[in-house]
Amino acid sequence: MAAAARLFLRGANSKLSIAPGSLGTTHAAHFTFQPDPVPSQYGPTQKMNLFQSITSALDNTLASDPTAVIFGEDVAFGGVFRCTVGLRDKYGKDRVFNTPLCEQGIVGFGIGVAVAGATAIAEIQFADYIFPAFDQIVNEAAKYRYRSGNMFDCGNLTIRAPWGCVGHGSLYHSQSPEAFFAHCPGLKVVIPRSPIQAKGLLLSCIADKNPCIFFEPKILYRAAVEQVPEDPYTIPLSQAEVLQEGSDVTLVAWGTQIHVLKEVASMAQEKLGVSCEVIDLQTILPWDIETVCKSVVKTGRLLISHEAPVTGGFASEISSTVQEECFLNLEAPISRVCGYDTPFPHIFEPFYIPDKWKCFEAIKKMINY
């Protein structure tokens, strides 16, 4: 017990992500979380981190929708990332329950719950483990409505999974698999950058009448803290958000990488006098082509950045569409600053990730093209 407690403590004292002590050094995280201003239009707010904002969304849902159930591995005691703490005690063991360790079962079961008309919120413990459920998601959930002539659907299904790099997650606790699902008509794929966004987008996913996958940046679970409205509210899907306006370069990302790009935008302004427009895509599928293209028509330059490997990553879809729509407006080739085409490494993470210096360098190249 004491040994395990020490493990907890070691983890506890890390503020963000820590490389193991074997190197003799610790690295600070590759980003600084930048909270959004306190929203005033949704009622009273409370200080919440990302996992607490998720709990709040789930709490609101269980309170207002008597059919809603939450299930997955270890959700009963509160979840390995604490997203479901307190919900089983509050709403009952028939509504918040553990399933056996089987992702294809979790998603298949969730589809069945949704088909029967109840609201199904399925948790996959890490996005890295979603692949056994790929057949159920792609061949079944996404196609249920179309193949049945709209007689049956699983619009009531939402799948949540922790996503993205965390400093030491390595191959199987760091993946960003959104590109695999972006290729699947019938699904919606959503990734929030912060607690306020997470609660509103998750509630939209739950309300949406299509099967949704909601990826939660795990590195932000404790690191991201904002004043989040206590009452339910929704943020629309498939609407990208322009976080700051600019005139020279459009920067597009989602999730954790938004905070990297915000810093890059400051660096570009300060060191290069370059004005960047930063866009949070939020919904990967269906994505907001109009907002991105409108921005590129204005700036003439586009940089897209994500942790997932560059080849076949979602930046390639954005790049391809933008060059079709905005070819004559482009002043430079579209730049993708992404992970390398390798599995996500452990000790080499600081070299692997698309950090602010790589993005900064890419902007320099585009400006000087």
């Binding site: 017990m1 395990a4 407690a5 493990l7 907890f8 403590l9 070691r10 983890g11 506890a12 004292n13 059919t67 159930v69 005691f77 509160g78 390995v80 990332f81 005690d89 028939d94 329950f97 399933t99 056996p100 089987c102 294809q104 079962g105 998603v107 298949g108 079961f109 969730g110 589809i111 069945g112 719950v113 949704a114 088909v115 029967a116 008309g117 109840a118 199904a120 057949d135 159920q136 061949n139 079944e140 409505r145 179309y146 193949r147 049945s148 002539g149 709209n150 007689m151 049956f152 965390v166 030491h168 606790h173 008509p185 019938g186 299509n210 795990k218 590195i219 498939s238 269906p286 082509i289």
Partner: protein
């Protein structure tokens, strides 16, 4: 975050609050204990199994007790063996069973032929398995939700799915409830509580568990039934569905049609254990093996399973032994992997339709004349539906683009418009006359 992955071994002799570090994690709540511990007893204390100790090294041999027996009510000649098992259904009910089985058989013959003649693209027959469909469907409530695999058309037929709708789906014409999107025999009916069939095998099994869980929470005394073949039972989804339904206490009947073949793969290449029924106890599930060609045995088992599944909120596994008399589909020629003699045995000596007919004729409920006129009438009915379906136009190609999401999305709308512009320009190359406008 890695710390959270090591939560496993925290069980202790009493409930414990773990206060690790206020900055890190709030206190954990009570961890549920699985049993009280007393090491003074010489009994195993493991949370994972309740058992006795044994000091002889012995491997449990599968099938050492000869396989799970096959429950039946009628012998192969349609005689009731144990009168207490005769469900004593009314003449009207039994005639209905017979007429549904034979109507299915007639429809199968005509649609198989129509594929051979190039009128429809594909077909799968149900020859030899009609008893599994009708017997089980009759034992259910009309509101019970059905998840199928692809060889359960008789369940739909029993529930009253019109011939016109079967035909419309196979022809993918404008009357198809599925809007022409799927291959033939991928039927579905919202009104008849029959979830639309999909080609990937066994995917319906964990879905049925989820639906049953939701139905349990509704408290309306509905059950869910899930059909699959012995081949599909090898899929991981089957294991998932069995385990979930047992641990989550779902009112669900698993109905396995063990028909001897998965396309060309015989059962001795599909599994090495005692069929599918023997797997049930491994999941903590009540299980039975029945003679699938005995419509009363299928009826009795399904009826009792349904009653208890709903009353006790637990799943039941029924393995219905039968034989696939036809080819796997119109894309298969089963003479490549099995003998004509084998097929003939089942067709002539142990067929669900003949056995029921013997039962009926023994009671004076069905004569040669009845048989002749019914065959003529059912064939005529099927042919008329067939001809109507042939004449019908295909659905409007706009339906290519709808129902991907509940709502039309801008990018898809653009693609739709681009298709129409293209078709306008190249219209002579597209078979527009076959489709509704």
């Amino acid at each position: 975050m890695l710390c959270l992955l090591f939560l496993g071994p925290f069980f202790a002799t009493a409930t414990m609050r773990l206060l690790i570090n206020n900055a890190c994690i709030q206190s954990f709540q009570v961890l549920q204990l699985q049993q009280t511990f007393d090491s003074s007893l010489e009994k195993p204390q493991f949370p994972g199994a309740s058992a006795e100790f044994v000091d002889q090294l012995e491997f449990i041999q599968p099938n050492v007790i000869s396989g799970i027996p096959v429950y039946r009510v009628m012998d192969r000649q349609g005689n009731i063996i144990n009168p207490s098992q005769d469900p004593q259904l009314s003449k009207e009910t039994v005639l209905n069973f017979y007429q549904k089985m034979t109507m299915l058989n007639t429809m199968d013959r005509i649609l198989y032929e129509s594929q051979r003649q190039g009128r429809i693209s594909f077909y799968m027959t149900n020859y030899g398995e009609e008893g599994t469909h009708i017997g089980s469907a009759a034992a259910l409530d009309p509101n019970d939700l059905v998840f199928g695999q692809y060889r359960e058309a008789g369940v739909l037929m029993y529930r009253g799915f019109p011939l016109d709708h079967f035909m419309a789906q196979c022809y993918a014409n404008a009357d198809d409830l599925g809007k022409g999107r799927q291959m033939p025999v991928h039927y579905g009916s919202k009104d008849l509580n029959f979830v639309t069939i999909s080609s990937p095998l066994a995917t319906q099994i964990p879905q049925a568990a989820g639906a049953a869980y939701a139905v349990k929470r509704e408290n309306t005394n509905r059950a869910v039934i899930c059909y699959f073949g012995e081949g599909a039972a090898s899929e991981g989804d089957a294991h998932a569905g069995f385990n979930f339904s047992a641990t989550l206490e779902c009112p669900l009947i698993f109905f396995c049609r063990n028909n001897g073949y998965a396309i060309s793969t015989p059962t001795n290449e599909q599994y090495r254990g005692d069929g599918i029924a023997a797997r049930g106890p491994g999941y903590g599930m009540l299980s039975i093996r029945v003679d699938g060609n005995d419509v009363f045995a299928v009826y009795n088992a399904t009826k009792e399973a349904r009653r208890r599944a709903v009353a006790e909120n637990q799943p039941f596994l029924i393995e219905a032994m039968t034989y696939r008399i036809g080819h796997h589909s119109t894309s298969d020629d089963s003479s490549a992997y099995r003998s004509v003699d084998e097929v003939n045995y089942w067709d002539k000596q142990d067929h669900p339709i003949s056995r029921l007919r013997h039962y009926m004729t023994a009671r004076g409920w069905w004569s040669e004349d009845d048989e002749r006129s019914w065959r003529k009438q059912s064939r005529k009915t099927v042919m008329e539906a067939f001809e109507r379906a042939e004449r019908r136009l295909k659905p409007n190609p706009e339906l290519l683009f709808t129902d991907v999401y509940q709502e039309m999305i801008p990018s898809l709308n653009k693609q739709r418009e681009s298709l129409w512009r293209h078709v306008q320009q190249y219209k002579e190359n597209y078979p527009l006359d076959l489709y509704e406008k």
